[in-house]
Symmetry: C2
Subunit: 321 residues, 2 copies
């Protein structure tokens, strides 16, 4: 299931996490079960669970201690995706129709709530009360991000500030929470937990920037959704911000103000963002956040787990090259 560059033993542990999750989704109500299985089996890489497990491996690894935190981080992620798709009215995700499209908005709303509750039940099984604190703060941050769109494509400093806040809430906060939870399970010191949290946060920023770049340089097959989706939906991401800055005029910014830009305009904007070096500049930022993430790892003794966390960090960037 996972295409992550992780050791075979970790794949086994990730399979255990998956078992736990799928086992939990046994509501009496068939529609919740079906929608739950639909989202959980539609090709996620389980990168958050992998980070949580590997974080624990930096300390004293005991799968049973960290399993529930790894399940919780994926359940929270799944819940937030379902609700995010509902807010965005997205028709597809990872090549599959979204829950609110296949069923309806009420089902998507309730399946998300159900997953949040399942995540809470998992957290209750975690060995340390700090963990539920990290994850609940993570969910609150995701909610704040969901209601904080990037509204300015220029000037650059304002646009960047909004964008970094947005992706920090949307993606980095949960990466951070997962890493911290894992490190707590591994018995890390307060300083180690904080440091690994920063690793997760920076890696989350890099991950989301790469995701946003892929929407400009990827093809529909790898993306599981058509490229140019963000432009079509009027979502401002880093490539557009840099492209507008580089172009020095308002033509590109105007594309996202169109209620439904025609396909020629979208393709032109994508080509412009690439021609102007905006996607490369965004990728360089992702590279920089990845390097900063790796610096946080440097204080930990060398180990297969540290190696694997580094491999995942490189994989995050490699997805686009």
């Amino acid at each position: 299931m996972s295409q992550l560059p992780v050791p075979p033993a970790l794949l086994d542990d990730l399979a255990r996490v998956d078992e736990i999750i799928l086992e939990r989704v046994r509501p009496r109500l068939a529609v919740i079960r079906a929608a739950g299985e639909h989202i959980l089996t539609s090709g996620g890489k389980r990168i958050r669970a992998a980070l949580t497990l590997l974080s624990a491996q930096l300390g004293e690894y005991n799968l049973e201690r960290v399993l529930h935190s790894a399940a919780a981080v994926e359940l929270i992620h799944a819940a937030s995706l379902v609700h995010d798709d509902l807010v965005d009215q997205a028709a597809r995700r990872r090549g599959e129709v979204t829950v609110h499209t296949r069923w309806d908005g009420d089902v998507a709303l309730m399946v998300g709530d159900y997953f949040f509750a399942l995540a809470a039940a998992e957290m209750a099984l975690a060995p340390d009360p700090r963990i539920i604190g990290y994850f609940s703060r993570g969910v609150m941050t995701i909610c704040e991000g969901e209601l904080s769109p990037v509204v300015n494509v220029a000037p650059l400093n304002i646009a960047l500030e909004q964008y970094l806040y947005k992706i920090g809430c949307k993606t980095a906060a949960l990466f951070e929470a997962g890493c911290k939870a894992g490190m707590v399970c591994g018995g890390g010191t307060t300083e180690q937990i904080e440091t690994l949290g920063r690793f997760g946060y920076d890696l989350g920023l890099a991950f989301q920037i790469v995701d946003d770049v892929l929407d400009y340089v990827g093809d529909a097959q790898t993306l599981g959704k058509p490229a140019g989706n963000d432009l079509r939906e009027g979502t401002i991401t880093l490539p557009l911000i840099y492209a507008v800055e580089a172009s020095g005029n308002n033509e590109l910014a105007a594309v996202i103000d169109l209620a439904a830009p025609d396909e020629t305009r979208v393709q032109w904007a994508i080509a412009e963002a690439r021609r102007l070096g905006a996607t490369d500049r965004a990728l360089a930022d992702a590279q920089r956040y990845t390097e900063r993430a790796l610096e946080h790892l440097a204080g930990f003794p060398d180990s297969p787990a540290r190696q694997a966390l580094g491999d995942i960090a490189h994989f995050v960037i490699a997805r686009v090259s």
Copy 2:
């Protein structure tokens, strides 16, 4: 704030619960703060928090131990109301405009999620891991109920089964969870916890039946929304089920099948339900569930807390007479 018939000391403790909740709703994002305060200050009775605190008082009462469970039960209730109003597209609740009406659906979705996360953070502060289990199961049950409408108004046995399942999920499960959590905080035995859970469940059934009867016999001012709301929205509740049974024909059942029944039809159906004794019959059921709830209390030694729980049970019924 509370019009519950509870001892003055409990009102002080409920005020502490309210402080905790309002203190927690301090997100950076103004819209979540505003929407959160809107729902939390719009006149709830905090009956769930009162039940949780009083349940703890049946054992060894320590406010600090049970405070977070009482806050959690109200936060979960608030979250589920916001999402329920979104599913129902209800314009008003307790006389106030609903969150999705005043702001929009995305805000309602995220404020609900935010509250669920706040509840999880509160549960993490509770003294026993079973508590989070009760509450997360309660949320899952609410989700299942939300997607399980009463679809048959007849035959009676089918309609009753659907209705009791629905209100069990929607209301009784969280009453049950709150009572069990309180009893755990009070150091109750497993048997006491289960017994008090059944008290809460039966009281929850009575509470919801009375709510549904009020929609037929109350006036707009006490309801905070126009009477006949359920009929207008095509929602089948106990008074209608009994009215259809008593009328022996399909005229009443036809009203809820209308996309938008005119006001004359709604008022006629309300009058018929009362004339046919359907509201009285529903109330008698509520009375019966209340008595069953009180029987569960009988095994506990007499105490001011047991007395107060009994008073709340009688209050639940008295709301309608």
